[in-house]
Each structure stands twice: as C-alpha cells, then as structure tokens.
C-alpha cells in the first residue's frame, strides 16, 4: 500500500523516549523534504506512566494536529502498554487502519486470541522486536530502546531515510565537534566533552541501523508493504 500520509502512534511509558522518538522521526522526514508534524500526549510527567506520541509524515501539507485517532502504524514501546492497559486508548490498537502495522517491543507474544483475530480481520501485520535487548547489545543501555522503535518503523515503511535519521539525531543530540578557534587548551577540553557525546550519538545511530535492517528483513520475508508516496519533483 502506497499512501499520501503515514500516521504513526507511539505508545510507551514515561522515561522511554517515545516523545523523543516521534520528534526525531518528524525531523528526519522534514530533512527528506516531506511534510511532517509530531506531538506528544501525557498526563503526569512521571516514569512508567502512560506516554503517547504521534508523528504524521506526508507529501501534502498537514492540517491535522493533536491526538492521532486513526493510525496506520502503532508502536508499542513497553509490554505493560498491553498487559496492564497503560494506554490512552483501549484496546491499544483502537482506531488502527485496515492494512496497518503494529510493532511491539517484547521478547514474547502478548496478544490474546481475540486481539489476533481482530487485527487479522483488518489485515494488520504484527512485528515483534525485542528492542530492549537490541539496545542493550548494540548501545549497551536499554535507554536506547526508542532508537529500535525508530529504526524498525523506518526499515519497514521507508517513511524516512537512514541518512535523514543520521542528520536528525545529530541535530537532536548535538552536532559533531567543531574547533572553537580559541586556545589549544580550550579546544582540548571541548573535544573531551564532545568525544563522549559523539560516542553516545554513534551508539544510538548504530542501534537505529540495526533495527532498520531487522525491519527491512521482516518486511521482505513477509512481503509487507506500507509506504509513503515519493514527493513530486519540485
């Protein structure tokens, strides 16, 4: 399915970076020359409380904003979104469009037979990725779990390019080191500070790439297609 607009709903828990993930996706889409808008929804700003974010990417100007009621893609950042109902919409897949996609971060299947049946009826594909494990393996921290959610949806739908994601991550987490033009001592101090930042940036990027490849592989194996149309040449 090739669409003019892809609506992505990210359901996570406070502290997991769902808000950042949607912002990075929208920034990347903008760098690709597409129209994009992202926003979060949350109540109390506390760890493990439900936190949702939305990212709309398209080839035409987007007038829609705020809560995303009818998503093409739903990404579940944490099993508790499903198992404990930590979601602003019940069930977590409410409103998903026919032919849509659900990506779940979990090491084991979580859906009930009823859920599976209802998603099947809507021809919704489900991709499980053990994102937390991937983040631990590649970045050495589960804080990079949100990077796996960015990578997997990008890999499956190609809604943003890897190049644009690289640029967006640099913009979000700090640009590469540039000499200050001051003294050598000052440069040395700044370099050290940036070296750590650059290492974190690289690890996050590697995590995105790994999940992107997993997404590509899964989509090819399952012959699943859900993409945003190319922008008309300017």
């Amino acid at each position: 399915m090739i669409k003019k607009r892809l609506n992505i709903r990210m359901s996570g828990l406070g502290g997991q970076g769902a808000v950042t993930a949607a912002h990075v996706m929208a920034m990347a889409a903008s760098k690709d020359g597409k129209f994009a808008i992202s926003n979060p929804f949350f109540g109390a700003e506390k760890r493990m409380a439900p936190a949702e974010s939305y990212c709309r990417i398209g080839i035409e100007r987007i007038y829609d904003r705020g809560e995303l009621v009818f998503p093409d893609v739903i990404e579940v950042f944490h099993p508790q979104v499903i198992t404990m109902g930590k979601s602003y919409t019940m069930p977590f897949y409410s409103g998903i469009k026919e032919g849509g996609l659900v990506i779940i971060n979990s090491d084991a299947p979580l859906l009930t037979e009823e859920d599976i049946q209802r998603l099947n009826d809507l021809h919704v594909a489900v991709f499980y990725i053990n994102g937390t494990q991937v983040a631990l393996e590649v970045a050495g921290t589960e804080l990079s779990t949100n990077m796996t959610m960015i990578g997997s949806v990008a890999g499956i739908t190609k809604c943003v390019s890897m190049h644009a994601l690289d640029l967006a991550l640099q913009e979000r987490f700090g640009k590469k080191f540039v000499a200050s033009g001051g003294t050598a001592t000052l440069d040395e101090a700044i370099k050290k500070k940036f070296a750590k930042k650059e290492m974190l940036l690289q690890k996050n990027l590697d995590t995105v790439k790994r999940a992107y490849e997993m997404g590509v592989e899964w989509a090819e194996k399952n012959k699943y297609e859900l993409q945003v149309a190319a922008m008309a040449a300017a």
């Binding site: 912002h23 929208a26 994009a36 992202s38 007038y63 829609d64 904003r65 705020g66």
Partner: protein, 430 residues
C-alpha cells in the same frame, strides 16, 4: 540568515523572545509552558541572550516584576499558563494600567476543576478585559512571528499596552513542525531596540505609577485612555503586519480568511484547532458544500469591522468556542453576535458550538455535523445552540466511567437526558 527548523511551539516562543533581544525575563514554571523559560534560562546562562533571567516565587510576583521592569524602560518577556495566569490576575489589570508594553505568552490549558493539562481558552479569555492586547495563534511559525509583531504594536506610542500571545498547550506547545527562524539582522530592522522617552523609573528618579484617584473622573479618564489605546492597536497592527510581510514574506491580518470566497456558511474558530477546521472545510468543499472558515486572531482589541465585513451577507454563521462560560455558553459567540447585530445584511442564522474543551478532539464527523446543522439553520432562518460537541462513543465511555464509580442507573439516565437536551446528538466517526 533565516533557517528552517523543526521546532516546538514552546521553542518558537523562546526564539521570539531571543530574537526580540529582550532585557529581562522573570520566570515561574508551569506545564505546558515550562520549556519556554527553560530554553531562555539556558541562553541567558551561556550568553546567547544578554538578558537578566530571574526566578520568582509565584506568578503574582513574576508579573509584578515584569511590569516594574518594563516601567524602567526595559524590554520584558515572560510566560505562563492556566492556573498561573489566574494567580497573576490582579497584576495583569494593574500593570496594564501602568501602560507598560511587555509581552506575555500564555500557553492555553483548561482550568481546574477537574484538573487537566490540555488546552481550552477559558484561561486566556478570562483575561480579555484586563487591558492586555491578545493575539491568538494557529501554528508554531505564527508563535514566533506574533511575538515580534506584539512588541512592535505594544511599544508603539499610540498603544503603550502590554500584549499577550496565546498558543495552545500540547497542540502547539509540544508540537514540532517546520518553523522559519528569521535572520537576527532583519529582526533588528523590524524591531529596533526599545528606547522609550516616557518610561525610565529608576532609584535616582522616583515616580509614582497607578496612584489612587478618588471621585471617578480621573479614573474614568485613564480607563478610557486604555480603551482608546487598545482600539488604536487595530490600525497599528495592520501597519506592523505590512512591514512584517515586506521583510519576512509572511502576512498576518487581524482575522484570517480561509476559503471565504463564495462561502454560503462560515465557521468561526480560533487557535490551533482552526487547522482541523480548515481540513474540514476542504473536505466539505470537496463534497459540494459552500463553506469557509474565519479564524479570529487578534481578539483584543476586538476587530468588529473586519469580522462584520467577512460575515455580512452569509446565509449562516457557526462559532465554535473552545471555552464555556457556565450559565451563558460560548464567549466568542457572544462577541461575534454583538458585532453582527448592527450589520446591514446580517446572516439569517447564528449557531453556537462548544468543542475541544480540555483538549478533546474534534472529529471529522463532528465538523460535518456542524456544517449540516448550520446549513439547515440558515435555511430555517433560526440559529441553534449552545451545542456541546460530544460523540455517542464518548458518551458511552463516560457512562461506563460513571458506572465504575458507582453511579446509579437513575443518575445515569439523568446524565443521558441532559446530554440530549443540550442539542442534537452527534455521531462518532468510524
């Protein structure tokens, strides 16, 4: 050089203050505004912005400090939201009477009780009679641009009033979308440093501001001066808008006309939800309905003439208020209706809708119902409302919640009948 960035509404507000090269920022945090003063705190700390940043103990103190600093001739910026705005309420009126031209950003959030974090406009509209000018914006770009315009208008010698720029919490504050960040040199050309000849309160030259005037005649004089100054802001806004468009290529008027040409019926909205309204107008036009949207942008001063010019001769007008004055209905509906009452060819029907309270979504089906009902009202020649936008599905969910909370069946049926008495039921979309 101007640059295009993906920016939240809050960051766009902070950039507006930074580009205006403000001198003083008194601050107090509140969701969903905090990101604005956080960004400014960072820039003041690292030297990107040569302003004094001060944290105060409350919004009441914050607004007092803002007004006092502005009285010294400094360019002042501050921001708040919702409960914070209410806490500063006494000071809003006081410093407007001092005639100090600072800019306050309000990030709209519905008022308690019950408590929520999402937007509606009961907070900012409560301050509509404070003497502050009010600009209500739809996009993150408009946030930044309106702050620059607000300083020019507020500081104009014909106006000399504080200004409030209102943006919706979440729908703009935390929403990231493309924003063109203007070139600082161009901003300096548009908004030169503020050097007011009449403000200069300092320790070595004490002055009294807003002293007691008993008897009423002096009081009436000064209050009426505020009114005339606010009305002056209509013409000043248009001059400033022309300058802004010439320098930056973006034009903002007192009101925004969206597909009003050839529109039989018009939907009136304000703020970020107007984007949804525009999409709904496009969809309705595609189905053959001749509808358009009028977005209210400058709400104080009230641009009655522009509103009447846009609405006269229409078949029907629907005002969608994202606020509720209990016992009355929609606030902006009253003001639109009052303006139209003197129009020579006023619409055959005026309809009043209340929607988006506490940030509640307004679905495509609800917009379509508004268009259908407004068209019928126009044909009938009789308006309706206030109608609360509330879908069947939302009603069912609310009933479930009430049942969970132990509400009895009798009370539940009373809830349902109240709902249907409130106006025609709207169907949920699917």
């Amino acid at each position: 050089m101007a640059t295009n960035e993906m920016m939240t509404g809050n960051l766009a507000a902070a950039w507006g203050a930074r580009l205006a090269e403000v001198d003083y920022v008194p601050a107090f945090p509140i969701t969903p505004q905090t990101e604005i003063v956080e960004a400014l705190a960072g820039w003041c700390d690292n030297g990107d912005l040569a302003a004094r940043f001060v944290t105060l103990d409350s919004e009441h103190s914050m607004m007092t400090a803002a007004g006092a600093a502005a009285a010294t001739g400094a360019r002042v910026f501050t921001a708040t939201s919702s409960q914070g705005l209410l806490y500063a309420f006494e000071v809003l009126y006081t410093i407007a009477g001092w005639r100090v031209p600072l800019v306050l950003v309000n990030v709209s959030r519905a008022l308690a009780s019950p408590i929520t974090l999402e937007p509606d406009h009961n907070d900012v509209l409560a301050a509509r009679d404070s003497g502050f000018l009010q600009i209500h914006v739809e996009t993150c770009q408009e946030v930044l641009d309106s702050i620059l315009m607000a300083y020019r208008i507020a500081e104009d010698p014909r106006v000399c009033l504080p200004a409030m720029v209102n943006l919706d919490g979440f729908y703009l504050s935390f929403t990231r979308e493309p924003v063109m960040r203007p070139d600082p040199e161009q901003v300096r050309a548009f908004l030169p440093p503020y050097r007011p000849p009449h403000l200069g309160l300092k320790a070595s030259a004490p002055q009294a501001l807003g002293v007691a005037v008993l008897g009423g005649a002096a009081y009436s004089y000064f209050r009426h001066q505020m009114h005339l100054a606010s009305v002056n802001a209509l013409a000043v806004h248009q001059e400033v808008a022309a300058d802004f468009a010439r320098l930056f290529g973006r034009r903002y008027d007192l009101i925004e006309d969206y597909r009003l040409e050839g529109a039989e019926d018009v939907l009136v909205m304000s703020n970020a939800f107007a984007s949804k309204g525009k999409a709904a107008v496009d969809a309705a036009r595609a189905r053959g309905r001749r509808v358009g949207l009028l977005r209210l942008r400058v709400i104080r001063p009230w641009p009655a003439e522009a509103i009447v010019a846009a609405l006269k001769g229409r078949r029907a007008v629907a005002v969608l208020d994202q606020n509720l004055a209990p016992g009355l209905g929609g606030i902006l509906f009253q003001e639109v209706a009052a303006s139209l009452s003197h129009a020579p060819t006023r619409p055959r029907a005026l309809c009043s809708y209340i929607g988006g309270l506490g940030g509640k979504n307004i679905s495509d089906a609800e917009f379509e119902s508004i268009f259908a009902q407004t068209a019928e009202a126009g044909v009938r020649g009789q308006g309706i409302g206030p109608v609360l936008l509330y879908t069947e599905e939302e009603r069912r969910e609310m009933e479930q919640l009430l049942a969970t909370a132990g509400t009895t069946n009798k009370e539940l049926s009373a809830f349902s009948s109240q709902q249907s008495a409130g106006g025609p039921k709207l169907k949920a979309d699917n």
